[in-house]
Amino acid sequence: MGLFSYLDWVIVILSLVLTAGAGYAVRKYVGKLSDYLVAERGMGMWVGTASLVSTEIGIITYVYFAELGYAAGFSAFVIALIAGIAAYCVGRTGFVIKHLRELEIMTIPEYIQKRYTRGVRMLAGCLMAFGGALNLGIFPKLEASFLNIVLGIRMEHLPVTMAVLLTVVLVYTAAGGMVSLIVTNYIQYVLLSIATVVVTVVVLYSVGLSKIANAVHVHMGSTGFNPFTSHELGTAFIIWQVAISFASMTTWQSIAMRSFSSKDTATGKKMFSLTSILFVGRGVIPMLWGIAALAFFGSHMNHKDALAHLLATILPHGLLGLMVAGMLAASLSTYSGYLLAWSSIISQDIVTPLLRRQLSEKGKLLLTRITVICLTVFIMIWSLVYKVPGPAYFYLNVTADLFMAATFISIVAGVYWKRSSTLGAYLSFIFGAIGAFTFFLHISPISAGLCSFGFAVVGQWAGSMLRPNRRVTVSKEGVRA
């Protein structure tokens, strides 16, 4: 452990104690499931934005975006730009989120049951739980690798780092739910933003912008700047990103939960507009760090480890501790946000309907907590046995598409197309999942991703045309003919 000084350790441990302590302290406010999952719908715009962004930024986000910056140069910035534009459009127009927030639901599949049937909800819930767990399943290994490089811990201790990371997450996720998430995410966001700004300034100062731009010219030529001609990206990739960005802003459970938790529809919309700039920053800032690693080390590094080596090399003691504290804070909120999102789907949308009886508030809360623990055990095992093929960003997008493409299509159709029917939703989920699953049959991730959206549209359209539902209106109280 030669890289980390005592000062760095003190900073990291203090930040962990502060966030975990705050999360634990507010658990007395959790009595009902709605406190646990959507914090009584009392989240204001500023903490809502902090909560949304810190859930969507973890060490893994910085690792995979830096990996793309290292591999594709400035062209990779297009991903962040598309995500920012999507967040802004959704915020300005209230596209989908306005309707879902007004229905006062807690999970996305709840809407699916209201609009279609319980069977579609369970199918959606199963695919979400499966894809979500696979998605989350690579987080611990990539993040623990990053931490081991930065902290100077040998790689054979990787499982220990993973276990410590997940144990800390469990303490406050299982204890507090959304209420502690909002508090810890706020503290974590402040820590993360300070670390991000400081690291960016040090990277720009140590490596230099002209050297960064020159490295892209030398290693990639014009393809490192033009995303349409980039070897790693290209036009098909950009189309896929547009679809996936709108889908994730509206139907990705951990993002959607933030709009369900907001005080009212207007607050939810404002939160998304405000988040748009942060979504661009979430991408372009670590991508620039990745390009800086290319300029600093050359192109021979392992893409996934380049950022960790750069930060361990250029950051002085104290700042290294601050950066790890900020990154760790970001990761803890990402884990707890995702664990809560996927476990709420497993408990609410799969187990509860299977039991065929109403559970008490305490029973529901206990079920959600048990699911969080089971999910943590699964991702620990998956992380240990699975090796990520190619860039992590592609794997994450494709596993998300196992359910996200169909969820997006069936919800958009449900909200905006009266003819949309139950058979259409079933076919959309089945076809969409098949499209994404082709990735595991060695189809390129871009083709698999585009197939999942295309197949989901075809399924929804064909099923709705073949067997339309009677005309329905979805409201808070249920479905009216």
Binding site: D35, F77, V179, Y189, S193, V197, V284
Partner: protein
């Protein structure tokens, strides 16, 4: 041209990130106070 566009985008985003983060840090405290006041009220109501 792409190079200039991405560099301008980076600096604008970085400036925006700093400003919005500062606003979140400043205004978030009041939001948290209001959330806990609401949760406290909702927990007290059934006891009355």
């Amino acid at each position: 041209m792409w190079e200039i566009f991405w560099i301008i985008l980076f600096f604008l985003t970085f400036a925006g990130f700093c400003v919005v983060s500062a606003l979140i840090a400043w205004n978030g405290v009041e939001d948290l106070r209001q959330l806990f006041a609401q949760l406290k009220r909702s927990h007290e109501l059934p006891e009355r």
